[in-house]
């Protein structure tokens, strides 16, 4: 039995094979061909799992903004004092609301952080304790000290602008100057703050036309480095406000200055 499969896309290949199978069955005893048909089905089902035809990427849309993000994440926080990290998930809502959950290897919640504006709440569910306060209240020796840089991820401008390709742009704000650097395509690749922090945006992918960096890395002048790697991001999907508000019912709330670690 020699089956010749034609076509360039997966759909065409599948259609071609089905048509040929139908022809064979109609020409012969259908019961005789039933095992062949089953084998072909199994082969196609198996190859679907490792299809080599890549999914076509929607081109970046100029001016598209990040309104919401929901994604699995891997976070590493490195500083001269601390080397920590883990896997988890995160949701973000423009302009600057974040909810991040770090998981234990068993899949349970180790720690949750909620932040908005300059406020941060760290919830440790297993202990029934939350620490709340301003980012500035976080002790210098806290393992999450570098986490204050997460605020820098809140980019209130499009990540892709072909008009800005290969340029840098300085914006003055009350807090000081911010210089943004764009690559040859016009994708925002780095932001440098006059306070010494830098944010790097890497491995862009198009999520339905919205450019989204697969990796965001923050550094500061004290040698802290926070790297967030995103997986399966969902961009600009509706997000309820409750997803960004800590539920502290039955939880003891302590000052953020008391947080020393899990």
């Amino acid at each position: 039995m020699n089956i010749r499969v034609q076509g360039t896309t997966y759909d065409e290949v599948l259609l071609s094979a089905v048509c040929q199978m139908e022809t064979m069955i109609s020409k012969s005893n259908k019961y005789q061909f039933a095992p062949c048909a089953m084998i072909l089905c199994v082969i196609f089902l198996l190859t679907m799992g490792c299809a080599s035809i890549p999914k076509e990427q929607v081109p970046f849309r100029s001016g598209a903004m990040l309104e919401t993000v929901a994604a699995m994440v891997t976070i590493s926080i490195k500083s001269p004092q601390v080397n920590t990290g883990g896997h988890g998930y995160m949701v973000y809502k423009r302009p600057d609301s974040f909810h991040m959950v770090m998981l234990t290897p068993f899949g349970t919640t180790a720690l949750e952080t909620y932040s908005s504006d300059d406020r941060l709440t760290i919830v440790i569910p297993s202990k029934g304790v939350a620490y709340a306060g301003a980012f500035a209240d976080m002790p210098d020796d806290s393992p999450l000290r570098g986490w204050r840089m997460i605020r820098l991820m809140a980019v209130d401008e499009p990540l892709f602008d072909p008009m800005k390709k290969g340029t840098s742009e300085k914006i003055s704000k009350e807090s000081g100057g911010i210089t943004s650097f764009y690559d040859a395509q016009g994708l925002l690749e780095r932001k440098k703050f006059s306070s010494g922090e830098e944010v790097f945006f890497r491995d862009y992918q198009s999520v339905e036309g919205v450019p989204f960096p697969g990796v965001i890395e923050f550094t500061d002048r004290n040698g802290s480095r926070v790297k967030i790697t995103f997986d399966e991001p969902e961009i600009n999907k509706p997000l309820e406000d409750t997803a960004l508000t800590p539920n502290v019912e039955g939880i003891t709330i302590l000052p953020l200055a008391n947080f020393k670690g899990i």
Binding site: A70, H87, Y89, P105, F106, G107, T109, P125
Partner: protein
Amino acid sequence: MKSIFCRTIRRFLIPALFIMVLIYTAAHAAEIPPLEGLELARKGFAGMTDFTAEITQEKQIALLKKTQTSSGQVRFRRPDTFYMEVYSPYASRLLLKDNILTMLLPTEGIRQKTVLPPEEGLRHWFSLFDRPVTRLPAGVELRADRRGDTVTLRIIPTGKKGVKELRITLFDDGRPRRLTIEEQNRDRTVITFHRVRKNVGLAEMDFRIE
């Protein structure tokens, strides 16, 4: 007529009856007193010096409305050593030697060591299994049921902290079958153990984290 009747019974009624019995026994596992359940688990575990297993971990994330599935392996050796490895894409390794917890994220090159309080160490917990269980642990509600050759223990903490319910199913020879953890935030993790082998003679070198 008789032949049709017999054929009908053979073809439909007997399989139907068999399926009904199966469904009935599956749905109505016998609830047993929690102390008896704990004691069954303890006895099963008593004859085990070590075990290895492959695992599938399914994490249902309520907030994202998605399920993340990972696979890996676990190893345990009495009295106090546990190793767990989760494979890529969310690779991690964990070694718990009594109360010293070491975690490694190989891709990120992160290694963390935490010393837990002695009462949270493995040696302490497994020493509780050295003698018959005579009373239930404080601060939890416990339920047990028996189904075939498995015992399921449901541990429900009375407080509102982190874990809402922990459910562990063990074979009657102590081998783990499934662990389900439900959290207050509606997340749920199911770890299913496959190819569980006990008393394989694990050595110190089987518990190296890197």
